[in-house]
Assembly symmetry: C2
Homo-oligomer: 288 residues x 2
């Protein structure tokens, strides 16, 4: 269960005891994974003030997810709820944390969405992980790289609560002795990781998989990186690539909002030469 | 929220107030759609005794789903919980009902699965729907008909809580003025409906889409039908078919456990000639 030191805020109710059950048996988020979420990084400065990394980008993506799901999303109400939760977190005296924004269609009979803001301590030593790097296996995702082009009901680029396959892929990676997975389309194209974007460097060009027809999520940290990198002398490009292209890349990262960018040190059993200077540069550009 | 006349039983706790929230914010069923479920039909006989249609088949499928998700499933404990819930339902004096069995991986920090049995009155007039028949549109599912062959992490044939796409497909069908949808693979093969099996009759042969590589669910009512139909002079066959094959079939049904078999009266805008005798025969064979 959540630690009592966690912070939990409920849309419409405000701050509540974090161990209080929040979903009824007919909440579509629980029965159908019918809703969306965001995973954000909470920072606390030396003056004890809390802030959320890229909050606007997370709220914008959640607004798009909610619209695609036909679920009401009042961004101002969510911003107020987040402010209350982050202020309460900072008051606990704890530091960097993970914040989940969760919106479900709610109980079928009420039609009122369920909205939750949950802040908890980091679940792992991510700075240590960034030092060690990731061992990764590629896994088939079972979809073509253009499967989502004209089928909005497939919820491409929507960060839904229906993550059972993503979680199963992470378990499969662990079974194979790897830290994480990268999904590959039926036509052999690199897609994304179960919980992050894939970015690779070739020379002074950063590449990532295009969103849209591929159905992958638009990564908020990847987008921040691609916004900042050109001023640091990088070219940035959306590229449909094969796993061989990843093997040939200088550096491959899996990038997510809470864990940050972590370079891949082994891909499908092949050890990769690390490039500490490039990795440190990308980490700084991502704000880690 | 659930009606106070509903029955809710929690694995480990037994019967509880049906409007009590049952999932904490860190329950993987709520945050990741990480779990599985069954939808069953509860019957109450003239003596007020309750029973569950095909309970063994539902528990067997849930056991397979839980195993595929690496979630513990104690079938005897679930059978006891179901018995307590159905007895309580029958005691309310209400009749035919829908029962949902829900198993989630539970709160991340406890590792204890969440198990729920929820019984509620039928949400629609299904007998009226069976009289009217269904208008159906076909929708792309974005997967190949053999995508699940060697990729267990894609959770083919696992009835997970991650149903956001299924729900979005039903909303898309409604937007197009239809009652329901039938998913079609990228290679043009008929798969299943968002919440039911597709069965069609050609002469005295009943067909359905094969499970396995297609990733579709094994329908408990479709399996019961295919078990009983041969003694009524039907041949039964698993067939990969195109939408044109459905148009040419004598009758097409969407079959699910609570709604039962409902024949398709319009497919992608084309009206279908109904065959009341055949429909009535199949309905009887399915126990409706």
């Amino acid at each position: 269960m959540p630690e009592s030191s966690d912070v939990l805020a409920v849309l419409g109710d405000g701050l509540v005891d974090p161990v209080t059950p929040v979903a009824r048996v007919d909440d579509a988020g629980l029965t159908r994974g019918d809703g969306c979420f965001e995973g954000c990084r909470v920072l606390v400065d030396s003056h004890g003030r809390g802030s959320v990394d890229k909050l606007d980008a997370h709220l914008a993506r959640m607004s798009r997810s909610a619209a695609a799901l036909d679920i009401a999303f009042d961004v101002d109400a969510w911003r107020r709820l987040v402010t209350d939760a982050v202020t309460a977190w900072a008051a606990t005296g704890q530091g960097e944390a993970a914040m989940k924004l969760l919106l479900s269609r709610g109980p079928a009979s009420t039609g009122a969405p369920t909205g939750l803001v949950w802040i908890t301590a980091l679940s792992a030593d991510y700075s240590g992980l960034r030092r060690r790097g990731l061992t990764v296996v590629t896994l088939a995702r079972g979809v073509g790289s253009d499967a989502f082009a004209d089928s909005p009901w497939l919820l491409g680029s929507v960060k839904t609560l229906s993550y059972a396959i993503n979680m199963a892929a992470q378990r499969e990676a662990a079974r194979r002795g790897a830290d994480d997975a990268i999904f590959v389309s039926t036509d052999g194209m690199v897609l994304e990781s179960p919980t992050g974007s894939v970015v690779w460097a070739a020379g002074r060009t950063l590449h990532t998989t295009p969103t849209g027809a591929t159905g992958i999520l638009a990564g908020t940290t990847q987008q921040l990186l691609f916004h900042r990198a050109p001023s640091a002398g990088w070219q940035v490009r959306e590229t449909l690539a094969t796993v061989d292209d990843l093997h040939e890349a200088d550096v491959v990262w899996i990038i997510s909002s809470v864990r940050g960018p972590v370079d891949v040190v082994e891909l499908d059993g092949k050890t990769r030469q690390r490039q500490p200077d490039t990795d440190a540069e990308i980490r700084r550009l991502c704000g880690f």
